[in-house]
Amino acid sequence: MVTAPNESLDEGLLELRKVTKAFGGLTAVDDVSFSVRKGEILGLIGPNGAGKSTIVGLVMGVLKPNSGDIIFAGETLVNLKPHQVVQRGICRTFQVEKPLLNMTVTGNVLIGALLRTRDREEALEQTKGIIERVRLGHVGHVLAKNITVQDRKRLELARALATRPNLLLLDEVMAGLTPLEIDQSLDLLRKLRDEGLTLLIIEHVMRAIMNISDRIVVLDYGKKIAEGGPRDIAHDPAVVEAYLGKKGTRNG
């Protein structure tokens, strides 16, 4: 496993410190700070365009922040390339799934497992376990281009898990699932958390995120507008305003 040098307990596993990212004139992430504590499930929500996916890109090293720092297990991630971030123990899923189309579901997951072992048999063993867990057993030998959208979502999760991350960033893995499937996913995510995985979840399915998150961070127009437990967030005036609009603005 990945070594995590001297984390103190009050520090987060992942910490964003005054992170700003602008695309030209648009500030997608504006001076955002928050931390993800070890072993928790943190929900990241906000209206479309709030900067959620940009934050995932920044953490993974796909994007470089204009200012601020991102710390994982005591080390800065800002100068790392995406594959190095994955090697450090963070993995993401893609909002728009990116399967390796001409490989089987098993092959897709196997490649992730090969990150931590050179032994193909060992990797295959892990792959089988993960595929069963995310309920992809029925399509193990099917090419990824021939599976349903729901199964592609599961494949995203399976592949990320195969890299054996300490922190998993889930970018809308529950979109398009039925209520039953959402419940199954939530069960799985809780189990993963209980096994020591830390999760940062971006989700539009409110019922799901309110249900599973230990804490929630709310973004709007790139700024953090609230942070706290699900119950507090749901009644926070700033959050209600961001989602529903300001009361009485019409009348001035």
Binding site: K98, I111, L115, R159
Partner: protein, 327 residues
């Protein structure tokens, strides 16, 4: 039925051995110099196709300038032999080293690019090398080319009056290229290259070092290609910039791999068998006066393959599909 059929199983087990035996015994049984030359040509292009396949097939990074690496192997071999009397079996080594170094540097530059830009820059790279070879006349004899004089059979200098020794040398080199691709095919690197080919963003998110793996693949591909450049000198006794660094050669190399089966170990062998034999047939039918006819034939085959068997002709052979990685 088929899979557990014992007859089929034994057929499968012995077929490669029988094939190997035939290939090894042919030069002893076939007196025709012409047929042996054609077979050497097939081995030669199969080996080049194999080498190209590592970067172009497995990693899916289209190189249109592989002739440049062949020239990097051929010119040092020829000049060392001519000027310093260093035999080709030693003289090819500096070329291989040079090609690997250039591939390393070129890789770091071009693999920042994706899609058509990569293809275009490799094409431009080969053209630049060709023009440099023409320009530095004093060292390379420019467009006159370098001619190696034949001074009687000499094992030391790899000069043979008969065809058989070349046949076995080229067969050995092809065997080496097949061995290398076979090793890659079944290794972690093979999986990583395929992931890169399928989707670079996804590959990166699986912890795969994109540029590192691509550069490594290009270096291996370039080294093998340069090695074949050394053989070219020993076999043909003549090189000039157009024939070893020209675009025709680059295209032919990738056609061998694409027609045979991209990203497979044996595809280039199938491709070379088809392309080289068709070139011979067309030269026989149309004669030297219409040498361009073979190009028309390449184009037609390429179109047919791309339309009807886009994974290459090897996919049409029994068991051919299994050579694609599918788990």
């Amino acid at each position: 039925m088929g899979r557990n059929d014992p007859n089929r199983a034994s057929w499968k087990r012995y077929a490669p051995l029988i094939l190997a035996a035939i290939v090894i015994l042919v030069p002893l049984a076939v007196p025709s110099r012409y047929i042996l030359r054609t077979l050497v040509n097939i081995f030669f292009f199969a080996a080049l196709g194999c080498a190209w396949n590592i970067i172009g097939g497995y990693a899916g990074q289209l190189s249109l300038g592989h002739a440049a690496f062949l020239a990097m192997g051929a010119y040092p071999t020829a000049l060392l032999l001519l000027n310093l009397n260093i035999p080709p079996w030693l003289g090819f080594i500096p070329g291989v080293v040079l090609a690997s170094i250039v591939a390393y540097l070129l890789g770091h530059l071009v693999f920042r690019l994706r899609g058509p830009y990569l293809a275009l820059s490799t094409l431009a790279f080969a053209e630049i090398l060709r023009i440099l070879l023409l320009h530095f006349r004093n060292q390379t004899s420019g467009s006159l080319g370098v001619t190696i004089p034949f001074k009687g059979t000499s094992v030391w200098k790899l000069q043979f009056a008969s065809e058989q020794p070349y046949y076995y040398i080229c067969l050995g080199l092809l065997g080496f290229c097949l061995y290398v691709t076979h090793r890659i095919h079944n290794s972690k690197m093979g999986y990583y290259l395929q992931a890169i080919k399928e989707n670079q963003d996804a590959a990166e998110n699986l912890g795969i070092n994109l540029s590192g793996n691509k550069v490594k693949a290009l270096m291996m591909s370039a080294a093998l290609t340069a090695m074949m450049g050394g053989f070219y000198v020993a076999y043909f006794y003549y090189i000039d910039p157009d024939s070893v660094a020209g675009m025709d050669l680059s295209i032919k190399i990738l056609l061998v791999a694409i027609i045979g089966g991209v990203g497979t170990v044996w595809g280039p062998v199938v491709g070379a068998c088809i392309l080289v034999s068709l070139t011979e047939i067309s030269n026989y039918l149309f004669g030297g006066g219409r040498a361009g006819a073979s190009l028309v034939i390449y184009a037609i085959i390429l179109m047919i393959v791309v339309l009807f068997s886009p994974r290459g002709l090897i996919a049409l052979l029994p068991g051919g599909l299994r050579s694609y990685r599918s788990e």
